[in-house]
Symmetry: D2
Subunit: 259 residues, 4 copies
């Protein structure tokens, strides 16, 4: 049509080749959303599992994602540095992955959160792309997120213990924790509430690592009820340390994950 000229305003936004592409999504206003939907404090297992389900669906759709990491209301997806998907167009990648995550989050909500906890509004996520020129930097990025998980979880565990068990007001709890270090918080949890921080679920302390793994999966049952297994590559959620790099640690065991 005679209006086609408007197409030339659509500019190229290709991301620099040779760099890892990290797409991070983060829930918009989840402070309010989690209250509205009665998320358990500080960690709602189901809410976290729902995040993991949505992330797994993203990995299935985008095989160039080598690893993902999630915590709280956010998930980061790391695409291989040489991916050519959608011509590495920034908006395409950011929008599609954010949309895919959102779609699965909403679709799986009833199953994971329970039919009795209906959605009262539409959860939305923001998304962004960040480029990292080296494997080292990607590992630093993931470490950054996992350290953040730990710091926030420790803080929140103390905060809600003080509020829910210690009968403090939120303001008092905040005041008591202001500026305190990790040791102080561990001590507080143990002495006041008998909580040994180290024995809390790894899921809360470490967040979720998702990688594609070759695994035996039961694909059907024979007539006589024997499970038939087959090897399949599937997204797998781990709650392990991804900061350490020494022998035996995650990166030592997965040396080619980012190669």
């Amino acid at each position: 049509s005679k209006y086609e000229h408007v197409r030339k305003y659509e500019l190229d936004d290709e991301l620099l080749p040779g760099c890892y592409i990290v797409i991070r999504v983060d829930g918009k206003g989840f402070t309010k959303f989690s209250t509205l939907h009665n998320f358990e404090k500080p960690n709602d297992i189901n809410a976290l599992l729902l995040m993991d389900e949505a992330a797994k669906a993203v990995l299935v759709d985008y095989p160039d994602i080598r690893i993902a990491f999630g915590q709280s209301d956010e998930y980061s997806f790391v695409l291989h540095k040489n991916t050519a998907i959608y011509g590495r167009r920034s908006s395409k990648l950011v929008s599609l992955i954010t949309s895919c995550f959102t779609s699965n989050y909403v679709r799986f909500w009833p199953q994971v959160m329970g039919e009795d906890r209906a959605l009262k509004c539409s959860p939305t996520f923001d998304g962004r792309a960040v480029l990292y020129p080296s494997e080292e930097l990607v590992k630093d990025y993931l470490s950054w997120r996992q350290v953040d998980t730990h710091i926030n979880n420790q803080y929140n565990t103390c905060f809600w213990a003080l509020v829910q068990q210690g009968n403090k007001t939120p303001a008092q709890a905040q005041e008591e924790l202001r500026g305190s270090d990790a040791e102080f918080k561990n001590e507080l949890l143990y002495s006041q509430f008998g909580i040994n921080y180290n024995t809390l679920p790894e899921q809360f302390k470490k967040g979720s690592v998702v990688v594609m793994q070759r695994r035996k999966v039961v694909v059907k049952m024979t007539e006589s009820g024997v499970p038939v297994e087959r090897e399949k590559t599937e997204p797998t959620v781990l709650h392990c340390d991804i900061i350490r790099t020494e022998a035996g640690a995650f990166w030592a065991q997965n040396p080619d994950l980012l190669k």
Copy 2:
């Protein structure tokens, strides 16, 4: 943490001030998705209504959107040229609007499509931002999409008439229509299938225009059953021409919409 240095890889992506921002979302692989979910051909009224519902929810959340236009599996949202929302950050805007649209599409699916037509996969949308420096160009953009609506609808109406009523194979139908003009298609519909194209629903021929309008809304009933009305600004869906600019036409009636 010692990993904070990775933050500086996140670069600014502010969109040029003073330009209208158009965010267009488009269903990923909806050729397949519409078949999988038995969309009526060429137009599934409920599928189109679901698109409109999702769009209306976007307008409610983002008041700087002055007008939106939808057709088929796509929707365009026009933000005012001086919007300062999220610092005009491109990824923020693209991802949030795409996510909001997706979330509402999935959430309202059962209501609008019917409980018996369950989602078999997670619908996803891509999104992009395009800048237009003038009101004139925004109108050209919207005209471009509406002309496209008309062309596609006319073609699809003929195509599916030939296939469903004319017993042609898809290949034959395609062949018959190749290179034909508007007049030929209207004639074909009328002479072969008794369809007067002009009398088809405006919704199919014109697509959906969404604007915020001040309207009387019933907010509650009095005890004696009398409806209580209040003026509210609400997203309203129109199926009108947005190409013409003469007196009486949409733009003449809404002179300040983009001001």
Copy 3:
């Protein structure tokens, strides 16, 4: 060659269509450069004329430049909003115009500054591109630069009068002028130094406006010594107001300059 793959790292940097492109160049470290080359204070007529010469050469090479404005060590070039030059590639435009300006500045230096004032180092300029979506904004941009010219010139005139004629130290002069308004400065110039600011050369107060103008130019002499004139479009330097828009003012007299 087998190394061609490195080409794909060169990304597109097309500037948004439909916007005026302003390229501004500014001398790098001209505080030092002007001292090193004994520029007259506060305004060195020859140095300013050299800037104008360089700018004129840029306009001759790039016909899509509609207007340029210069002052101090800077020059701004306004390209028409629909220019398609070099595919509107940002780096191409910024680098070529900055290079062209620099090249002419150095080449014309001896002629304009005098053979006795040799270049002691290589003057360099930075450059940048700024987009403006409307004619109105371009005028505001030019007004911004011209107001700046006025403010700086008034300040510098006072400052150097105090230092050179008033026997103040630079620090004392600065102190005396801190926070003072235009009126105070005019009064100071008049009462202490007998300078009527309004009668200073327009070149200093208004900066230089360059436009292409159709003018009679002497192209040769006949054998009998009669000058032969021809109409030519040539870059012309004006020292006029470009802020006012009323009847008779520059913009009223040149209504189509930016059209």
Copy 4:
């Protein structure tokens, strides 16, 4: 002033951290420029030396440049991946380096090209920034340019031998060389013109590599005429291979140049 609002149209253009920044400048229309100024064919030693002088001046001004490579009318400057110069702003870097190169090219012209070969027009250069995420890619980039040097030089040497000594027209020479490989060209030079390509100056075959090197420099003479030397870090031009990486080769001898 009330026009300051136009400043916000100036957007951030920071280049991704952690990547090597290559700035390449290239003469605009040097086919014509070299003819106009009677450059020797195919290589004008003085013209090449002038390029080297300009490049050396750039390295002196921008210490974060680790290596530069020049050939024909182009020069590439490689900035260290962690340079923070000018906040890594793309336009700043591209314009300043292009301007600095241009300025020195024009300023040194008379000295290097000879007073009798005056500049007839103002040479200008375009500039661009390209990012490379790894050392390996930077080496590939430099190899790409050096292979290009070789290919062009071999072609041009044949072409001008055929035209200047072989009495061919340019069209005939072009025809004779079309599609021929390196061996054919070497053979042609040797058999028809007695030229052994391998013995041509390295400067022509390899281009110019510029690095900062610690060297003994004569800084003055004592009264009795004894030269006084001092160690200085100075830009040094080499005409060596930068493609090979084995022991003894350039990269093996300069392992930390890009570290």
